[in-house]
């Protein structure tokens, strides 16, 4: 059974400048123990997707339709109180900016401990304290006892991100959502953080949604890839197949425009840039940038087309192909 199943999620933001449809039909699922990668460029809705799952959209954002089934239960029907029990406990999250994501005025150890105390009610204060220190050790922070009393600004970026991971994993969540956990870090640190995540989640059998715009990270880390563009999922596939044979023109473009060390030939770029939700093109949102755009793309949005168990593409090019397969 899938641990998490997101179906046709629509999320809007109601701002002073009008309604912003940030997500327009997002569906995917995460299996137990699996690492799911969500890729896409800035503004395509990756973060909103993750925040929607935890319902942390603030008072302006709202899930308009769709369901989020977690272990069979629909999170969108949960009360605030019930949702609080899920957050940090069963589903937890790591954010991109480790500096700003930690409260600057609270000792890092305390911030870990807070989660523990919240969700593991059976633990005493001292036990929670020890648990926090253990978590710090587990994420590879040396002299954890001493560092417990540090404030975030006293730690380096990598260390802070480790603290974030410790907070996220403190209550053995079943699902960890990591929203660009390494974008702000140097490659060498990134390597360690990703390695750490891989190791720990493997040990704990935690599923991960890894959000990134770095295809390299995807290739390194994930089992399955979901590609988002302009608030929707345009392709979903197993990671090997995805890199070997990307279907959607956007996916192809992404891969070809990503420089890599093994790069021999010239980079190809996708023309234009990502549209904002407020001025999303008609039909397929990618059509103005698509080298294969057809007439139909301009007027009619394609449906999700499944050509395998969990292989999906959202593109008119594959209409025939999918039908015949």
């Amino acid at each position: 059974m899938n641990l998490l199943e997101v179906k046709d999620l629509h999320t809007n933001f109601y701002t002073d400048h009008g309604v912003i449809p940030a997500l327009t039909g997002v569906s995917f699922s995460v299996k137990k123990g699996e690492v799911l990668g969500i890729v896409g460029e800035s503004g395509c809705g990756k973060s909103v997707t993750s925040l929607s799952i935890l319902q942390l959209l603030g008072n302006k954002g709202k899930i308009n339709s769709g369901n989020i089934h977690f272990k069979g239960q629909d999170l969108t029907t949960f009360s605030t109180k019930k949702m609080r029990k899920v957050r940090g406990n069963e589903i937890s999250m790591i954010f991109q900016e480790p500096l700003t994501s930690l409260n600057p005025l609270i000792r890092v150890g305390k911030q870990i401990e807070e989660t523990v105390l919240l969700h593991k009610k059976e633990l005493s204060k001292i036990e929670a304290h020890n648990h926090a220190i253990n978590m710090m050790k587990m994420v590879g922070i040396p002299q954890a006892e001493e560092k417990y009393a540090y404030y975030p600004h006293q730690l380096s970026g990598g260390m802070r991100q480790r603290i974030m991971i410790a907070i996220a994993l403190a209550c053995d969540p079943e699902l960890l959502i990591a929203d660009e956990p390494t974008t702000a870090l140097d490659v060498t640190i990134q390597e360690q953080i990703l390695g750490l995540m891989k190791k720990i989640t493997r040990e704990l059998d935690t599923s991960i949604i890894l959000i990134t715009h770095d295809l390299g990270v995807v290739a390194e880390m994930v089992d399955r890839v979901v590609v988002m563009y302009s608030g929707q999922v345009v392709e979903e596939n197993e990671v090997g197949k995805f890199f070997a044979n990307p279907k959607h023109p956007y996916s192809k473009g992404l891969i070809r425009s990503t420089p890599s060390i093994d790069q021999e030939d010239n980079l190809e770029s996708i023309k234009g840039s990502v549209p904002t939700p407020a001025n999303k093109p008609s039909g397929c949102p990618f059509h103005p940038r698509c080298p294969f755009a057809m007439e139909i793309c301009k007027s009619q949005a394609p449906e999700n087309m499944y050509y395998g168990e969990e292989e999906m593409v959202n593109c008119w090019l594959y209409k025939e192909e999918v039908k015949t397969s």
């Binding site: 942390l56 957050r87 940090g88 999250m93 954010f95 600057p104 005025l105 989660t115 404030y151």
Partner: protein, 305 residues
């Protein structure tokens, strides 16, 4: 920390020097207390004699040099109005002013912090509109107007409080409300915007993602962070507090520094004006210093840098 305080105190010297100069230039040109000391009928000779005996006929530089020298000895000159040393006169008034300012600050904090937080958390609701509107109103209302109204209504009509003077707790209520309101008005807006700012921070999202209940997010995670900018701006509110105190004290006949100053200015009692301005300036600076020390306490980022 000690070093820090020392440095700040050192920094005071040029500032105080500038202050003495500015104050002195003003006072030097402020004209002559003599005619205010003598009745309308006094003859020119009487005036001239008085002027000479007060040393008002010396050239500017001599007067300034004397002034600075005297100040370093803690001597601000003699009040022409009271014929007493100016400094003790000013210092005697400090307790009353501190009492009023402190009470007003408490009133202001008691009003502004809860209201500011409340309206930030109900952004764009009617509550927010009401509180914001109220704070603007509080700001727009001249201080003396409110004071007189409070006297008319609560002291004269309902006789719930004494009209004026200082003494019991009841005496303090109306002046503190009057002065506190104007400060609270501004501070409510500040707390609100600072709170809004804080609530938009990533770590608030982190706290929520951990499952922390909203109230605790606000109280435990957001509040202290909200305070930091509020403290800065609160010290900038000092000048509102001081000018408010000047007016409020006059309305309520509160025997504090503000009233002394108004009377001194009216009587051209420049020694007292100088001493008051100087003492107020030092107090303002000291309070700023204390604020910085508060940062040390509540903001670890400063402590470790």
């Amino acid at each position: 920390m000690k070093k820090f305080i020392f440095k700040r105190l050192l920094e005071l010297i040029p500032v105080l020097f500038i202050i003495t100069f500015v104050v002195f230039v003003l006072v030097y040109h402020a004209g002559d207390p003599v005619s205010l000391m003598l009745p309308e009928d006094a003859s020119q000779e009487d005036r001239e004699y008085m002027r000479e005996s007060l040393g008002l006929n010396d050239p500017f530089i001599v007067q300034y040099a004397n002034f600075v020298m005297d100040i370093t000895r803690g001597n601000f000159g003699t009040s022409t109005r009271y014929d007493m040393d100016a400094l003790p006169l000013v210092i005697d008034r400090l307790p009353a002013t501190f009492e009023l300012a402190g009470a007003a600050m408490l009133v202001a904090l008691a009003i502004s912090i809860p209201l500011g937080i409340w309206s930030a958390n109900r952004r764009n609701s009617y509550v927010d509109l009401f509180i914001t509107g109220g704070s603007v109103l509080g700001k727009a209302m001249p201080n003396f107007w409110l004071g007189i109204m409070l006297i008319l209504l609560l002291a004269v009509n309902f006789q719930a409080f004494p009209v004026s003077g200082r003494g019991t707790f009841m005496h303090l209520v109306l002046p503190a409300i009057t002065l506190g309101t104007s400060v609270a008005a501004e501070m409510t807006r500040l707390v609100r915007s600072s709170m809004l700012d804080t609530l938009g921070q990533d770590y608030i999202r982190t706290a929520s993602s951990k499952g922390v209940p909203y109230v605790k997010v606000v109280v435990y995670h957001a509040f202290r962070n909200t305070l930091i900018p509020v403290i800065t701006i609160t010290t900038l509110q000092l000048s509102i507090l001081v000018s408010g105190a000047i007016i409020t004290e006059s309305v309520f006949q509160w025997p504090g520094l503000g009233m002394l100053l108004v009377q001194a200015v009216n009587a051209r009692d420049m020694a007292v004006v100088q001493a008051s301005v100087f003492i107020i300036a030092i107090l303002v600076i000291l309070i700023n210093l204390i604020t910085d020390l508060i940062y040390f306490i509540i903001d670890p980022r400063i402590k470790h840098s």
